[in-house]
Subunit: 154 residues, 2 copies
């Protein structure tokens, strides 16, 4: 449940429908497929969860009361963002809302990238350039990661 794996190339048809690869579907329980949640990602991509996993994410947010401060409300809003419920049709596809298609700049060719409990949906070209690094940059990123990791480890 917490270890989705896989990278898949798929096509979006003219109606904005995306068929979920069977190898991805197989990693979720049958029942979950009728209540999936898509949302904007922080980068120019979308994120796909089961409803259950999405609500679990939301739990964290709802632990803090709205009355608290404007910043809290804004933060929650930004996170909750464009979440949309959807279910797969008889051909194992989901219909992605227009607004989200635009947000992520999705064309015909897209890539699904599973990781943890979420699946990122990228336009293929953007995905390729996102993953395109030279070794210098990679080692810089690793260093940054290491520094950020320390404080919370204490």
């Amino acid at each position: 449940m917490t270890g989705l794996i896989g990278e898949f190339s798929c096509k979006l048809d003219g109606k904005g429908r995306l068929s979920l690869p069977s190898k991805l579907r197989a990693q979720w329980p049958e029942s979950a497929l009728h209540t999936l949640v898509v949302n904007r990602g922080f980068e120019k991509c979308l994120v796909l969860y089961t409803k259950e996993d999405w609500l679990a994410e939301m739990e964290k947010l709802n632990a803090v009361d709205d009355f608290m401060s404007p910043e809290i409300r804004r933060f929650k809003r930004i996170f909750t963002n464009g979440a949309n419920l959807m279910s797969i049709d008889s051909a194992q596809r989901i219909l992605i809302p227009k607004k989200l298609l635009e947000y992520a700049g999705l064309g015909t060719d897209v890539v699904l990238s599973a990781n943890g409990r979420k699946v990122e949906i990228w336009d293929e070209k953007l995905y390729d350039s996102e993953l395109n690094v030279d070794s210098n940059e990679l080692s810089q990123l690793a260093q940054h990661f290491h520094q950020q990791r320390k404080p919370s480890g204490e």
Copy 2:
């Protein structure tokens, strides 16, 4: 019941009527649709609840005694004041009172954003700018959230 999900683009017609998207309606029991409550939001937006959920919000307020202070009384008054009971018409629309339209600056294009037990109603432009953050600001917000969360964890 506690997990409304969805972001919807809708139009307000010239009469101030807003049709509720079917995917939102489907998340409430049929019976609730005839007793919805709209109110001013803390930001420049409106908030929509079922009557049941609204009453639950009121509970929070009533937990604090009126004797406490003038500010308490004023807050309660203002918060309670804007609340309007409404029901959907045969075309699945609600009629939003003029005063509230003005308060939230609602034009033709609005966005409904569901989260938890409430639905926020925003003018589309305001909504877009509310959600538009750069990464610096976002990390500040996240930090703020993190700090607020701690106390309740103890």
